[in-house]
């Protein structure tokens, strides 16, 4: 699971109001290499919940001098875009789980695939 996806995921259990952001408890993390695309990264940045991204990066120990608030004029700053690209698309959680901040319900992650299947009562 990449952090870009994590930034989009919420708990869809019925009755949960604030199921975002899901707390990452990772036991295995991997860093891949992916081709950098500046237009994609700069388009995705406004969609991101920046504080959730920084928090997720900290949980994985990958915060590496990313600013805690978004800098203005980030489109021109290629170094910044590369850092964001790395944290969004190259860092991957392979094993672990995602925990709902409201209910504490856990969604396990196995082989990089989070299991979002609900049980009977949800």
């Amino acid at each position: 699971m990449k952090l870009l996806t994590h930034n989009m995921l919420t708990s869809h259990v019925q009755g949960v109001i604030k199921g975002y952001p899901l707390i990452i408890k990772a036991t295995e993390v991997k860093v891949n290499e992916l081709e950098f695309s500046a237009p994609f990264v700069s388009r995705m940045i406004p969609k991101l919940e920046w504080s959730a991204l920084i928090q997720a990066a900290e949980w994985l120990g990958q915060s590496q001098d990313l600013p805690s608030t978004l800098i203005p004029d980030y489109e021109k700053d290629e170094e910044f875009l590369r850092k964001v690209h790395r944290i969004l698309l190259e860092v991957e959680v392979v094993e672990g789980c995602l925990q709902c901040p409201e209910s504490g319900r856990e969604f396990p992650i196995s082989k990089g695939v989070p299991n979002m299947l609900l049980i009977e009562d949800e």
């Binding site: 996806t5 995921l9 869809h12 995705m44 990089g112 695939v113 989070p114 299947l117 609900l118 949800e122």
Partner: protein, 291 residues
């Protein structure tokens, strides 16, 4: 559990021990592999993915963030990656997702049941495609939540997950018109507009159905493909909007006692020369039971 000739996959969705079990039965480890290695299957899926992306009408030369519902072993996802897009795939079968992982797909995969709703924040995706997956939501046995409820939960969460102006294109094989009506009714209820695009409507072999849904902005429905020599009499589009229509029953007659029925009956009696009260704003108005 062994049911000849399939082995039921260990992952069974607890809410729907139904046709989803059938899907998991079909696509256990062996079947999933066979499905993904069959070159004819790959060709068809790739072609349908290509057409679906075409119908998405994404801005040119721009990498987009897309959702692939029922991504299976990633055959459609591969096409998305090749087109330069980033995608997230959702599927209910671990066997199929395992094959996708083995094939090293670029998109991020999620194990989930679309009928339970999509677990995303609002307005995230630039578009959504789904190849040969939506029909699995339509069948269910009595033990489960009803198909309309599941369809609605899926469409409403999809509507919110899409950015304004985004589209969702579903390639489906509709079993009958009831199934089609069920799907479109729930999609409209969730707020979508759009319609059905039919490619090659006159060829039983090449005929393909694409349900195109627009989130937020009403778009122009793309034209379906047709071969050169066909008779243009067959329309290959069906547009639906949020407009309400008066319902007629199967025989084309109005529902009994409805306003339409009453107005028609009054007309009939006028034509017969009988004495009929003039129509006013109170005509055919609903009265309380004790009237």
């Amino acid at each position: 559990m062994y049911i000849w000739p399939y082995t039921v996959s260990a992952v069974v969705c607890h809410v729907c021990k139904c046709v989803l079990v059938l899907y998991l039965q079909f696509y256990n480890e062996q079947e999933a592999k066979k499905y993904s290695q069959n070159s004819r299957m790959i060709e068809i899926q790739t072609q349908m993915s290509e057409r679906a992306v075409e119908l998405l009408s994404l801005p040119e030369d721009q990498p987009c963030y897309l959702l692939d519902v029922g991504c299976g072993s990633g055959l459609s996802g591969d096409y998305l990656s090749e087109a330069g897009h980033y995608w997230v795939g959702v599927d209910i079968s671990t066997a199929m997702l395992d094959v996708a992982l083995q094939r090293d797909v670029e998109g991020d995969l999620l194990l989930g049941d679309m009928g339970e709703g999509l677990p995303f924040r609002p307005g995230m995706f630039d578009g959504c495609i789904s190849i040969s997956a939506l029909q699995w939501l339509c069948n269910a046995d009595k033990k489960t939540h009803s198909p309309p409820k599941r369809l609605y939960r899926f469409f409403s969460t999809l509507y919110s997950s899409l950015a304004r102006g985004a589209r969702a294109v579903f390639q489906i094989y509709p079993e009958n018109s009831e199934q089609l009506e069920l799907i479109t009714a729930q999609a409209m209820k969730a707020g979508f507009t759009g319609g059905m695009v039919v490619d090659y409507p006159n060829s039983s072999k090449a005929k393909k159905f694409f349900l195109c849904l627009f989130a937020g902005v009403s778009g122009v429905l793309p034209k379906g493909l047709c071969s050169e020599s066909t008779d243009r009499g067959v329309s290959n589009q069906a547009q639906f909007t949020a407009q309400r229509s008066r319902f007629k029953n199967m025989k084309g007659k109005s529902v009994k006692k409805s306003k339409d029925w009453i107005m028609e009956k009054k007309e009939r009696r006028r034509r017969q020369g009988k004495d009929v009260r003039a129509d006013t704003k109170y005509t055919a108005r609903h009265r309380k039971p004790r009237f």
